[in-house]
Symmetry: C2
Subunit: 352 residues, 2 copies
DNA sequence: CTAGAATAGGTTAACGATAATCCATGAACG
DNA sequence: CGTTCATGGATTATCGTTAACCTATTCTAG
């Protein structure tokens, strides 16, 4: 069928292993320049491509790293994917994407696929319900894991963003702009992520001498169809029902914030004049909305680089004793129009 | 290292090939229930995973299809990826994503990777400059290709969306709402895609008895940094410079439309009252903007399904004689607020 | 009671690439 | 002149799985 090493060797009039040495770039080829060139020429003529499966079987090294994503279209997952892939390729490995696309069973399927492909490590971009079982399987197969989101009950390094600091930054910014009645949306207190955010929120408020009673927590609407934006839209009506009406709202992420802004527009509530909105993640579109969104940016590149570095430590030394690490990177406040920080100020900065 | 079939066989007290038959689900196992269960139990106990590389080497079938994407974050590419992957998995194959992320050299790299992985076919979601050489390589390796975008100089089936019909639908809709001075943005007439759109635009106008002089074509701003939205933002200023000011604008795609709407907001031009905006693609966010975007939706699911069906015809019969097909699917107009269909339309017609 | 299925399972030779080992040839050296 | 070594290249075992081909036992029909 396809040309093999044997074909190339025959064409060049040498033995297979000589061809092998040359074509894979052996550092000590012990092959004369002439022979080398004859082999390269033959390979080119026959359009030879090495069979990775055969190589992997023989060498036992797959040079493949799995990337597991719960839902690429949400938040910064796609940006993470890009950054992680780039970092992995920089180390000479290929990448296998397992995109569960919101279906928890697929998560398990991909964990098994990674194992069957002899992946040397796995990067978790985001998870879905039931991730624990899938990742425990990887643990059992001794495949090192690094995650960009907090993980529970799984042996893995974690490189995540400090959500508490993020919430603190956002809240403090609103307080400094004079807001006192700030609402925070949340999707359920049970997740550690959410608890962290809430803690940062409270710390900023009390640090500013603000009573927590004026800072209502709004439970996200449980609607699931229509995606994350739709949840934001539905939840915004709860926000609008509050009396007295808050003057600012901290959203769980940018997509929710976009949904909220849509409902506010529908209700005739102007952003930022009547309601300041802050998001989380700094997704691409956030900067390009009619009212650009103030948000907390995640240091995606750095996160990816550090995560991949940790993973390769374990890949290169499978017996590494280092206990699982948890690294929290600092997020960054990105001020745009949606919180009402003076537009003159923004222009001033842009001019600099 | 990892447990192999031999380990399982030894544990169960049978020969390797008996274990192989059972574990891969041979339709004619000729293995007693008792033995079968002993093998399954042993596999479970030893956490056996088959080695796909060994299997592929032996069977010569990789059951892998490559997916090549120029830039996942743009337009409907991510949705396409999801739909295509789903369709491929439904046929029992795995997927290999080659995400060039805007870098043309990576496109070539991934084409080679697909070949080295013995991919049985390739689905092209979108392309970048220089795709031709990469795909010709796949042609030479006799790997069948199906593309979701028009391709030039490459042997491949194509399942695309009828852009002419899309432009016609959008333009006609605006005309019916009473618009007469409609601008169209374009990124250069050289691409067949763009030429098609322009043709549909003109057909709709002349079909309505509109002089083409009142329908200006605006060349997209060549800015490249900041992504597609930023280009829309920059281009919108050109639109605003026109006299008389058009009352509607047809954008190349939704991201451009989003950028345009941002600039219009900045300039104090209300959408849709003073300017109707229509996009193309119907990306997720389009429905969730403060002023939801009227747009032309691509039939992504159907496109993916038909493309994958064509591809598998060729995979299953490598000697299939059928010449490359080009299928054009009909897009669909999605009316939302940005064109003012419900309210402003009647007023404008009355005023004209 | 025996030929011939049918059943249950074992043996072994690949698949393509790699790497350890082995075999020539020629040069350098005492 | 024989030994050592460096160079250039060939032989061959092996990775884990599969599939074609055996062997041995049981069952059934005539």
């Amino acid at each position: 069928m396809a040309t093999t090493l044997k074909d190339v060797a025959r064409e060049a009039g040498v033995a297979v292993n000589t061809a092998s040495k040359v074509l894979r770039g052996d550092p000590h080829p012990m092959v004369s320049i002439k022979t080398r060139e004859r082999i390269m020429e033959a390979a080119r003529r026959l359009r030879y491509r090495h069979n990775l499966h055969a190589r992997q079987l023989r060498t036992g090294r797959s040079e493949v790293v799995g990337i597991l994503a719960g839902a690429l279209r949400e938040g910064v997952n796609l940006a993470r994917f890009q950054a992680v892939e780039h970092a992995i390729r920089a180390r000479g490995c290929r990448t296998l994407l397992g995109h569960a696309a919101g279906e928890p069973e697929l998560q398990l399927q991909f964990a098994k696929d990674f194992a069957s492909n002899m992946a040397e490590g796995v990067v978790v971009l985001s998870t879905l319900l039931g991730y624990r079982y899938s990742l425990e399987l990887l643990n059992e197969w001794r495949i090192p894991i690094v995650s960009l989101e907090p993980l529970d009950g799984v042996k893995a390094d974690v490189v995540t963003v400090d959500r508490r600091e993020g919430a603190r930054l956002a809240t403090r910014h609103l307080l400094e702009l004079g807001h006192r009645r700030i609402a925070m949306l949340h999707g359920g207190m049970k997740t550690p992520t959410m608890a962290e955010r809430h803690q940062g929120f409270r710390e900023a408020l009390t640090g500013h001498g603000c009573p927590l009673e004026e800072a209502p927590l709004i439970q996200m609407d449980p609607t699931t169809s229509g995606g994350v934006c739709a949840r934001g839209e539905a939840t915004a009506w709860r926000l609008l029902a509050l009396r007295p009406l808050p003057t600012a709202v901290l959203c769980s992420n940018d997509e929710v914030a976009i949904g909220v802004m849509k409902t506010l527009a529908e209700a005739g509530v102007r952003v930022p004049e009547e309601m300041a909105v802050v998001g989380f993640d700094d997704i691409y579109i956030a900067a390009h909305l009619p009212v650009p969104l103030t948000t907390i940016a995640q240091p995606v590149e750095e996160q990816a680089a550090r995560a991949v570095a940790l993973l390769f430590e374990r890949i290169e030394d499978p017996d590494l004793e280092r206990p699982p690490q948890v690294i929290r990177l600092a997020p960054r406040l990105v001020v745009r129009a949606s919180c009402g920080a003076s537009s003159a100020g923004e222009e001033r900065r842009a001019a600099d």
